[in-house]
């Protein structure tokens, strides 16, 4: 499994905040993605009805997932393909390696796959003298840099054009050193030319899956570049890496969810290429892979069923929650320290690698609720982060300072008159102290808050006072 540094979230986050390149990339992202999504949503009056539908489809699947997986396996087999079940990353890697070695593979091309990241596939193949070649442009760039993706749909979103140009000059030494690479178009063309050859050389093509279809035994990928298609069509074998919860019943169910996927991810009504792959090439076909394999990875997901975290299994990896998250937008994806960043990562990472290995993540939130409000699958991400906080508390993983502070707060909170008095006194004091700027740049005992953002100066009344005023007003009307 990919090594996790999620427990160093604070240090990672500070590094991100101090990195000017990252900050300028994030500034662009924070405007670009949300604007495109909002425009696409405005053009589809049925968007919210489709979100409900998408949620209901996945809920139905999760209640019956064993049956749908078995039906999927049956359909894949009837179409001449193979399904392999893997409990752990180790088992999944071994299955892929066995296929590659049986075919005498020396190089494999790869479409974008978060599961491949999750199981640490590239390093494993390399250690067995098989060269993995990432073909998604963003993934190709970060492979050249030996980095992890910083975003689930835009892996190189943290990089500038100049950094990428420098990487290309370093890696593509067979090309003319004086070539002009100032325009993004020339960088795209250069990568295209290099990867074209790699598609034809590869022995095995590995892709992820956005959906698995029980009705037909198909796997589905959604891309804009077309790399996943050349990856699966040209080599001897197509290997699909998918986690269990990618399954949906029918082509109609996939069609409904596709309507919210592209819009939520990039603001596209449909991504450019949505490809349904079923089995190996058929007799008489002019192209296509000779073998078709699906590796079904569990890695802790089945244990989330029936728990308060089951709903994260509805996630379709659109990235909207991170695109709209103020924490992600401030610190970037690498701060989260493992495969999945942003709000969905803050829930999924502790679920998959253990909360003790990802203690800070459920706290990497301002609980502003934006993630849940944009999630096409209506996943209650803040609620689940709160569940982890509660668990953390019970298991005594919360740092001592925070425990003492919260302990004092709890003591007062249980004594309403006293709490009220203390709160209004404190509010008045803070309001007075902050009256010049309207906010605090530095607040004793809350350094963790004010180091990276301002604490608004209270406007005079406590929440309780406002609440009672409101109640009284209601009573009168």
């Amino acid at each position: 499994m990919m090594h996790a540094t999620s427990n160093q979230f604070r240090a990672n986050a500070n590094a991100g905040l101090a990195n000017p390149t990252l900050q300028s990339a994030l500034a662009k992202m924070k405007v670009g993605f949300p604007t495109k999504r909002a425009e696409a949503v405005a053009k589809l009056p049925e968007f919210d009805a489709l979100r409900d539908r998408a949620r209901d489809i996945k809920n139905h699947v999760l209640e019956n997932i064993d049956w749908y997986l078995e039906r999927f396996e049956q359909r894949v087999t009837e179409a001449g393909g193979h399904v392999h079940w893997a409990r752990t990353p180790e088992e999944a890697r071994q299955i892929v390696l066995d296929i590659c070695q049986r075919l005498g593979a020396r190089s494999v091309t790869k479409g974008k796959s978060m599961i491949a990241e999750e199981i640490g596939l590239n390093a494993y193949l390399e250690s067995h003298a098989i060269e993995p070649v990432e073909t998604d442009l963003g993934e190709y760039i970060i492979q050249l840099r030996n980095e992890a993706p910083s975003h689930i749909i835009a892996p190189a979103v943290h990089l500038t054009k100049d950094a990428i140009e420098a990487d290309f000059r370093r890696a593509h030494t067979h090309l003319d050193a004086r070539r002009d690479l100032t325009e993004p178009q020339t960088l795209v063309a250069e990568a295209r030319g290099i990867l074209r050859q790699r598609y034809f050389q590869a022995d095995v093509g590995i892709t992820g899956a956005n959906f698995l279809i029980a009705e037909t035994g198909s796997s589905v990928i959604v891309t804009n570049e077309g790399n996943g298609d050349l990856t699966q069509l040209l080599p001897k074998a197509h290997v699909v890496l998918a986690s269990l919860e990618k399954i949906v019943p029918t082509l109609e169910d996939a069609s409904a969810i596709l309507r919210v996927l592209g819009r939520s991810a990039t603001g596209q009504e449909m991504s450019v290429y949505t490809t349904f792959s079923t089995g190996p090439r058929r007799p008489g076909d002019l192209d296509g892979p000779g073998e078709y394999h699906v590796v079904l990875l569990d890695n802790g997901r089945s244990a989330l069923l029936g728990t308060e975290f089951q709903e994260i299994l509805r996630c379709i990896r659109c990235g909207a929650c991170m695109n709209h998250c103020p924490v992600y937008g401030a610190v970037g994806g690498h701060a989260y320290g493992w495969v999945y960043p942003g709000p969905m990562g803050a829930v999924l990472t502790p679920s998959l690698i253990g909360v003790e290995n990802a203690k800070p993540l459920p706290n990497a939130s301002t609980f502003c609720g934006k993630c849940e409000s944009v999630c096409p699958m209506r996943i209650p991400l803040p609620k689940m982060m709160r569940h982890y906080r509660a668990r953390e508390w019970q298991r005594d993983l919360t740092p001592r300072g925070a425990r003492i502070g919260l302990g004092i707060w709890a003591w007062f909170a249980k004594r309403p008159p006293l709490y009220h008095f203390m709160a209004s006194t404190a509010m008045a004091a803070l309001g007075w102290l902050g009256r010049k700027h309207g906010s605090f740049f530095n607040l004793p005992l809350a350094g963790g808050w004010t180091a990276t953002r301002e604490f608004p100066a209270p406007q005079g009344k406590t929440f309780q006072e406002l609440w009672w005023e409101k109640q009284r007003a209601k009573g009168r009307s």
Binding site: G32, F33, E46, A49, L50, A54, I57, N64, D66, W67, R75, E78, H84, I95, L137, I141, P155, V157, T160, I164, P184, V188, F200, A214, E215, T216, G217, N224, E225, G226, N227, D229, L233, L234, P249, T250, L251, E252, S255, A256, R259, Q268, E269, V272, T274, T275, F276, S277, T278, P280, R281, R282, G284, D285, L286, D287, G288, S302, A303, G306
Partner: protein
Amino acid sequence: MSDARTQILAGIRASLKRDALPQDRVAALETRLAGRPRGPIPARSAGLDRAGLVDLFDRQARSVACTVTRVATRADVPAALAAYLKSQNLPAEVEMSPDPDLDHIPWSAMPLLRIARGKPSGAEGVGVTSALAAVAETATLMIASGPTSPATMNFLPDTHVVVLPAARVVGPLEDAWDRLRATRDGALVAAAMPRTVNLVTGPSRTGDIEQKIEMGAHGPRRLHVIVVEDDGDV
């Protein structure tokens, strides 16, 4: 790996606090699979006649950087293709799927157009295919692989030209699946489901460098559709 399979299925059932599904639940799931219930279908394509669907397809296609020419009959297709190639400064030379749909077109009307039928050579020229259906809702072309339709033709050429009979333009994606099912006698299982079904919505692009959209990342940098308004019911 059979014990991984057994253990995963057992783990799922333990988490859901039940055994394998009982008969009545299985019957309900079979009914749902066979019934293929649709979700909410966007109203934008509802109630349109053929001309309305083609108009919607045309509009949507332009919004995804695809170009469209509409011709009256299949006899007009060769000249429309030649004119398109000229407008893009491309040589009068194409690779073309050996698709019987394209056999009906009188290509000999353009004797200067060089046509290579078969699978694509890998040279980054112009590839011509047909499409099984086109979804007006999003300007999405459905192209299924088969002995006369190599899927690589949709990806290897630098320019992809699709000849589309107007009768194949449908409203939502769900109608395109029904068209595919109709060509395959119903259920899309085993060999009835083509190895590859490509849904193509515009030309290839990437936003991976500073989120600036660049065309032609790996697949075709241009996608051109020639709609044949009156082509019978092919």
